[in-house]
Symmetry: D2
Subunit: 440 residues, 4 copies
């Protein structure tokens, strides 16, 4: 293949040029060093570029094959192709000037004919990554293992009816977790790609949930053993590829973590497209994860609400993003997490620089939305009215009720005896929507 520097037409890193920048490729909002709410924008947003969509996916869909014709997808020497791919990947990281990247084991390194060979390949590529990281700004946000593409996982990994598949998956995850640790990854992700079922007719759901609980517990135990101090992240997704995935949404994952005693070590990696497939807004999933204390990181993308599959498009709608970021800021912002572009260019976007346009456009939309969210936080534009709305619960009786100092009969008696007749107040939804529009 060509030398990576020549894969993209763009040669110099994308720079901030302000809202009216003349170049079609300058950042108009993402001024990484601008300080907002006490931190640089880059440190708030913690953008990561993902390996799989941008460098591994050939552009196929269920009705057609490859469209991208990436040079590193065609050749016989798998490791050499993997290295060529890494060159292009790090070139994109450089051009976008992103602080983070993410990958699955099989994105980065070719699968071998045996687990042993696969692990060896992964370590060989980890060596390559290690060297590249030394001289680049980019760091590893998280690594993960692909436990869903290979035929052996067709009926799940941890939830497979065959315990040998569970063991094989353990082998893959150990290697990926250890490589993530070696590369300084901030988190480790477990996405249950096929942890679910196609039909209940052949499924023992209780058994499978117990298997999954044990698997995640093992990973947590191993993380402590090797001294990896980032969180394990699981990722809610309701359906696709399976009819039902056990990590359906935030609420489901929370119940699972509670059941298996994992809420301390495991947090959630949320995705907009997964949220809407589950019938929730992205904002809801973030708010709920914050409320339940399991917020971790985000896969930033957008789905098409009118389509029923994971389109993983680049997020571009600033007003919607602003609400998501507002929830994150209310919760204090990211700690180990960040904004991972689990987003793919359309299969018709076959020019190499379409990858750049997509990331730049979405980084800018995120930056603009973040600034709006920060503005709302600073002005207490939404938090103020909300606090006022619930003020009654901060009074002595409200606090006593929540503290368990009132029984049903206490309250019922009070309501009866005082002839209680509470007067409803306006929810002011349209006013608050207009307020948001002042900031975006």
């Amino acid at each position: 293949m060509n030398a990576p520097a020549r894969f993209f037409e763009t040669a110099a890193p994308i720079a901030y040029g302000g809202p009216n920048a003349p170049s079609p490729l300058g950042f108009r909002w993402y001024d990484k060093d601008r300080v907002v709410l006490g931190k640089r924008l880059e440190d708030h947003l913690r953008f990561a570029v993902c390996y799989w969509h941008s460098f591994c996916w050939p552009g196929g869909d269920p009705f057609g094959g490859e469209t991208f014709l990436r040079p590193w997808h065609h050749g016989d020497d798998a490791l050499a192709l993997a290295k060529a791919k890494a060159d292009v990947a790090f070139e994109l990281f450089r051009l976008l000037d992103v602080p983070f990247f993410t990958f699955h084991d099989v994105d980065a390194a070719p699968e071998g004919r045996s687990l042993k060979e696969s692990v060896a390949n992964l370590n060989a590529i980890a060596d390559v990554f290690e060297k590249k990281i030394e001289t680049a700004r980019v760091r590893l946000l998280w690594g993960t293992a692909n436990l869903f593409s290979n035929r052996r996982y067709m009926a799940g990994a941890a939830t497979n009816p065959d315990p040998d598949v569970f063991a094989y998956a353990a082998g893959q995850v150990r290697a990926a977790l250890e490589v993530t640790h070696r590369l300084g990854g901030r988190n480790y992700v477990l996405w249950g790609g096929r942890e679910g079922y196609e039909t209940l007719l052949n499924t023992d759901m209780k058994r499978e949930l117990d298997q999954l609980g044990r698997f995640v517990s093992m990973v947590v135990e191993h993380k402590h053993k090797i001294g990896f101090d980032g969180p394990i992240l699981i990722e809610p997704k309701p359906k696709e590829p399976t009819k039902h995935q056990y990590d359906f949404d935030v609420a489901t994952c929370y119940g699972f973590l509670e059941r298996y005693g994992l809420t301390k070590d495991v947090k959630l990696n949320l995705e907009q497209n997964h949220a809407i497939l589950a019938g929730h807004s992205f904002q809801h999933e973030i708010a709920l994860a914050q409320a339940l204390g399991v917020f971790g990181s985000l896969d930033i993308n957008r789905g098409d609400e009118l389509l029923g599959w994971d389109t993983d498009q680049f997020a571009m709608n600033a007003p919607e993003l602003a609400l998501a970021f507002h929830e994150i800021l209310k919760g204090g912002g990211f700690t180990t997490g960040g904004l991972n572009f689990d987003a793919k260019i359309r299969r018709q976007s076959i020019d190499p620089d379409d990858l750049i346009h997509a990331h730049v456009g979405s980084m800018d939309a995120c930056a603009r939305a973040f600034l709006a969210a920060a503005g709302m936080i600073e002005a207490d534009a939404l938090t103020g009215p909300v606090a006022e709305r619930y003020a009654g619960w901060d009074g002595p009786e409200g606090r006593a009720i929540l503290a368990g100092e009132r029984t049903l009969a206490d309250l019922a008696d009070r309501a009866l005896e005082t002839g209680l007749d509470p007067c409803p107040r306006s929810g002011r939804q349209e006013f608050l929507e207009s307020v948001v529009n002042r900031f975006v």
Copy 2:
């Protein structure tokens, strides 16, 4: 209004006439005394007729008003009308020969100008019910309080921003729970009709969840105090009337009950239409509730998968129902629960006897489906292949993994050292679907 005996054209209770019964109104499958799997069909199915759809709803929808013109909806003396309604209701229970009924406080008794008056009305009607029950076969499956229709609840009951609304709701629930207890109700239901939000812009979700947790806990404490030994049932529903309801689905409710320490006293009342609105099959919700130990009772109806609201139609598709009943039978069948017809005739079904046709048709579809499910259980038609599929987990290594006797490294080492290469086996979905078709 007319005497109840003359409201319906049908005068005699519906009888079992066999699959080829000539009458349009005989049961063709529901032979209540037939013994299957050691119990009478009536004792397996535990049918209940609900008050609200059949006797309270006037036939309106968001685009049009009353169509049914029930005589008990027109008049000035609210208590007299409520008694006339009770006469018709018990006449329907008699004609259908159902063992159970269900009601909300405001279905049965008129709301008063104060909580005190409402409670008095409820007790007055409870007296009427008590007498009717003495001479009828019908019993109370469950009672509940309507905490969503009155304007005061527009922003929720337990989750209201105003603690006085919470207190008012406590007053209503205490009365409804005590009346349910007095009438020998087998369960008490809490459906969070507006426990959710319209917009996150004005909502403090964490606060509201804590309020709801406290409310349900109070009800549990009161149930113990008064010696009511049936379970409290909460009812998953994802949306409608609010944009998001906190009792979204089984998995969400389970997480909520775990969070607030309520899994022992509170179980779930599941509904087909709510299941599909949440993106799940009814069979899934039942299987999951069984797996998580929170199965309680069923609201039997059907939604339209192509519509996005709660249509609450009468369930008529025997093959689908058979899968639901198969899950229930696998879990041992109902204890205090039953099949409550939370189903309403279409607003164009304006003849009184449409109510009878609807119930009889659905009871028959349920009976036919139940017999099919029982046949599958007796033949181990599905349970056999499933047990075989997971047999590996019953071996020593499978049991050791689940018992926590293997670490990630143990399994990874075994996989690497033995060159583990698990061989997938067919999921046989189409074969199993054909097997089901032999039984229905």
Copy 3:
């Protein structure tokens, strides 16, 4: 009831104050006299306030009753209440300074005990409107008849199995059309509220379509007879209240109009919420109506893509609206049509001024979006790349193909003989999305 001037807290018309206006109630973008693309903003946008949601709906939903407690909903003298309602309505028109309003017959005037009485009431209120219009700036965008709320229409109006219902509907429509004409209405709308079916089991679809075709034809004939020169508008909606509505979407309505020879006189009134219920974006429906030559007017609102019913919220998302307006501008803008706020405040928005906040917020979002769309048009930001993409079809061979001057064999032979191997070009979706973001 109170005098209308005192219903709203706000007393003076809302004024334009620029993007940083300090008042919470000034327009920030809607500068009605600003000239863009050769016309004043007011003349481009042609805002209309609707009667039904803002003045007739009491705030109920399927799970609860009235919340708004409008004074004109409580009293015995129906005509006096209707006049009081009109006072408030025209006061809102004045405060918002909108150029248009819209109404159904039964919104404005009370239904009588007979058709004759209803028509008399309508004419009485039309007299009131006529006088008010004389001294106000507001004009009538369109009128319509409600053929779905009354019990008689439960099985449809034109598509009713009973031809007498069809005749009754004819009576109502003649009166509403003539009143619309008298009041100088620019269009007349026919929304088939229950022209559809609940179940195919009792429906003869072919018959019903023919009935509907005849009904619309009759209205067109009558319009010509009385000299009404605005278009008749039908309104696509796929479902709700019925399971299937015959006016499903733009494509369906187009086929219907073609079948009954009505494309010349009948155009479409499109709504965002109806579009998404049918699985389409608003932009799509507008673009398709333009392509097929049947674009008429818009009901401007927004649905919630995650809910399955018509939420009719106020449109607030400027980037999405910009794409809708871009399609309209490509087609030359409105002629007789306009932007009718078929939007309702949430039932918790119980303060009178919530009505004002909602309209002002949405008018502003529309204005901002319109300015962005106009900017894109002026810069050929999207139209330029599209023209370039299809340039091949403007060449001689492309034109010949479309003109029918090539047969299948001609093209096949050319492809075979020249070894045709067309080279795909990037669709550049992400780039174009970023371009849009520069304008909004």
Copy 4:
């Protein structure tokens, strides 16, 4: 690869054994020679097995690769592999004893490096098919060309922005149509796999519709030229792979055919899964196609209403199928059309005989459903009540209205003068649903 006789475990054709047949693989309902409504079941149902799902799909999905490991997918000599595939295909046709099959050009024959080579390959395989058909019972229901998988079609075939792609598609379709004609195909299908758009930002919809109209017209002209007397069938599908497909649903296709004058020569091939993706029931799409005179053939399968993509499962629910067949029988049954199994086994169904179980199970479900539908037709179980419901329209006034002999004013005057007050009648939906359950 192995000889085809040994690919399947099953060796003898599947036979009818009655409802209680002991063998797991006998037909229980599909007694092909049974005469119902004057025709043999085989001649009513006209089953076809499709090539693509059963012999071409390797078991992949967007998250994982091949699972089936078919021998004919691995090897270097493409034509030899295609012949081996044909051997297995015709063996399955024999085992299932189906009267028809269907295929795309690229299913049957390998694509060459040029159009010329592809056409040559197709003709070579057509020779093979021709010989096999001579000695087999199976016939060709329809052929078609795949205009969506190859990268050149990524932006559509007829609707491509590049007229050369249109020409290439013409070359492929001519060859496929002529081969279909040579093999005695009863119909020719055009499915617009990518005739639609991904984003309106880069799309000129009007242009694309005109291109598509011209393309279909060319195919019709060519069909007449070569003397092919079967209909051209287009196939409604709303989305997937593209965001919006121009053949959205029956109503959309009808409008398209009207617009381009094609209703005489072009009919529709309907599919259950496509129907529900468009928000319609299968029964609706069939009824509408019948009402509009464009019914052609069926792709029989089932989607999952809770998933948003084309799952193409084997149809198994007899009560639902019965309603579909009832519509077909009301319209007189199939002429050139039939029931094509556009259905695929799940990717976990990796045993060769899973293909047999799937087809047999679904053929049986169809047969059972068909018998129920025929029973309803014979008993006028649904058609009787429907005729009665609309009887008013068969009276003199009803006929006069539909014949255009009444104006809006005529009817309005009659309504006013007679004080018309039509009395609604029950729609009896639940009764009719119970009636259906007696037959299935």
